[in-house]
């Protein structure tokens, strides 16, 4: 039991942290949502993000509350943009345009560059958008890097949420899966090349499970059947994989953006770092990691792979507290005062990730809340 002053300090710092997240999310969310709907929905979404921030700061449990936020954001994305695909279900009544899919950007990058070149040379300035899209991606990469895949990606939340449902994995992945851990990178390389060769977004047409529709598929029946089969396979990896293994199977093995961000995310300063002197080599962290991004050989200290997307699951799983968020592998100098506990790499990262995730999801979350309200109170 903590002494009352320590408890009060914890509460105060958690409130301050929640406010720090709430204000920017509210500001940007109301600007975005206010274009088409009542700002009340933006306020509701900002309060939710702030509540998550408070819970993280108050309990110190990062991943559990992150998952609530992350999965809620993904579910709201589905509610708003994908529910219209089901027969009889109403489509979105506002914010009808889906945000540009970041997963498509990575495997179609060469094609995108080529199209931008054509737009530039032909003077088609309306089609020329590397400054907006590229700057947006650069900002995200510098702010949270690989953390995008566990805090902001509107699809990752599905995989992540489902992986938390089973208490125990029905299928335990052996060490052999690490032989396939580079599969997303290989997929990315192939998709980059194939998309350039065909001048088509090959990943979207052939593998993406999130399209949940056949409208983009090829007209030729045999090709269409293949595309269908691959989409169903990817859908199984997205839905059944996490339920059977308690791991994010789609994100770990089939998402090219995860590989893209693992590569470029090295530019971001935040890391999850293991302290070898504290590590007892129990392997709990490797078992807990939903992304197959921590290895722990018998008797050796845990090793965090470049595919780690800073979800924080391993931090809570380590009985020795050997894993922590760092800046380029180093801790920040200790700060005193009432709010001193917030001046760590972990809180800086969580602030960045949660704020960015909250603002980005304002493109659909307030609108989805409105959809739900309208559904309940027509």
């Amino acid at each position: 039991m903590e002494s009352p002053p320590a408890e009060r300090v914890k509460k105060v710092s958690a409130v301050v942290f929640a406010l720090l997240v709430f204000l920017p999310v509210l500001l940007f969310s109301s600007m975005i949502a206010g274009r088409e709907i009542s700002r009340f929905y933006a306020l509701a979404w900002s309060l939710f993000a702030a509540g998550i921030a408070f819970a993280i700061a108050y309990t110190g449990r990062v991943s559990a509350y992150r998952r609530v936020f992350f999965s809620a954001s993904a579910v709201l994305f589905l509610v708003h943009f994908k529910s219209g695909l089901f027969p009889g279900a109403p489509g979105p009544s506002c914010f009808k345009e889906t945000p540009f899919c970041h997963i498509a950007m990575a495997p179609y990058f060469f094609g995108y560059l080529y199209q931008q070149y054509l737009a530039l040379m032909s003077g088609g300035w309306k089609l020329w958008g590397p400054l907006t899209l590229g700057a947006g991606w650069l900002f995200v990469t510098l702010a949270i890097g690989r953390g995008w895949c566990s805090w902001a990606c509107f699809y990752g939340g599905i995989d992540d949420g489902l992986s938390a449902i089973p208490r125990r994995p029905l299928i335990k992945a052996g060490g052999w899966v690490f032989k396939l851990r580079d599969l997303p990178a290989a997929l990315l390389v192939f998709m980059l090349l194939a998309s350039l060769a065909y001048m088509l977004p090959v990943y979207c047409l052939w593998l993406c499970p999130f399209k949940l529709t056949e409208v983009f598929m090829d007209g030729e029946p045999s090709v269409r059947r293949l595309q269908y089969a691959l989409m169903v396979f990817a859908l199984a990896a997205l839905v059944l994989g996490p339920l059977l293994t308690r791991k994010r199977t789609f994100c770990s093995f089939l998402c090219p953006f995860a590989a893209w961000q693992a590569f470029w995310g090295r530019a971001n300063p935040f890391r999850v770092t293991a302290a070898p002197e504290k590590c007892s080599a129990c392997g709990n962290c490797a078992q807990a990691c939903p992304m197959f991004a921590v290895t722990c050989a018998a008797g050796a200290a845990a090793e965090v792979l470049p595919y780690c997307n800073l979800c924080g699951e391993c931090l809570g799983a380590c009985p020795q507290g050997a894993l922590r968020y760092t800046v380029f592998g180093a801790d920040l100098p200790a700060a005193g005062g009432r709010l001193g506990r917030l001046f760590t790499a972990g809180y800086f990262f969580v602030f960045s990730a949660l704020t960015l995730g909250g603002v980005f999801s304002s493109l659909w979350a307030p609108a989805a809340l409105r959809d739900l309200v309208k559904l309940v109170l027509p």
Partner: protein, 206 residues
Amino acid sequence: MPALFSEGFLLGLSTGFYCLSACLPMLAPYLLAEGTAAWRINFYIFLQFLGGRFAAYMLFAVFASLLGKAGEYALPAWVLPASLAATGLLMLVLGVARVSGGSGPCVLKKDLDPFFKRLPLALGFVTGINICPPFAAGFIRLLEMADVLKGLVYFGGFFTATSLFISPLLLGTPWLGRRANEIGRLTLIIAGGWYTILGLKELIYQ
């Protein structure tokens, strides 16, 4: 003859980017899988690949000229999907054999017949027999000329120009390491599977 070489060369220059994009999914995974930080080894692999591609081009030049002489102006429909499937299978076999590492049936082991070590050559050859649109344009010209020697010169020019577009790929190889090799091997499997399935599908549904 120099005029014919120039004509082929100009066709290659004008369509080189397309050639590059068509050849990249075949060559790049192989270079990624087998390349090292040593530039000379990568250059050697690249030369072998070009050698195989050159052999394929010359073979096609002869073949097309003979077809033109015989008054045949079209290739049998199975040639393109069969060559695609052959490329895919070769990449697939190589990738699967290599991804399993030392314990697997590594086809590049030293005690194997030297023939099997010349896989970049074989890969270049099967890449060369895949008919992309620029290649088809040259092919039609050969059918029209119906002269073996002229055909060889014309395709020699075409090969030289298109090779210029592929060569910058070597610039990326000095950074290759063990990790890149692993990624390259998995890419070989994916690309191999892709081309095999597409080729077989075309053969079956023709």
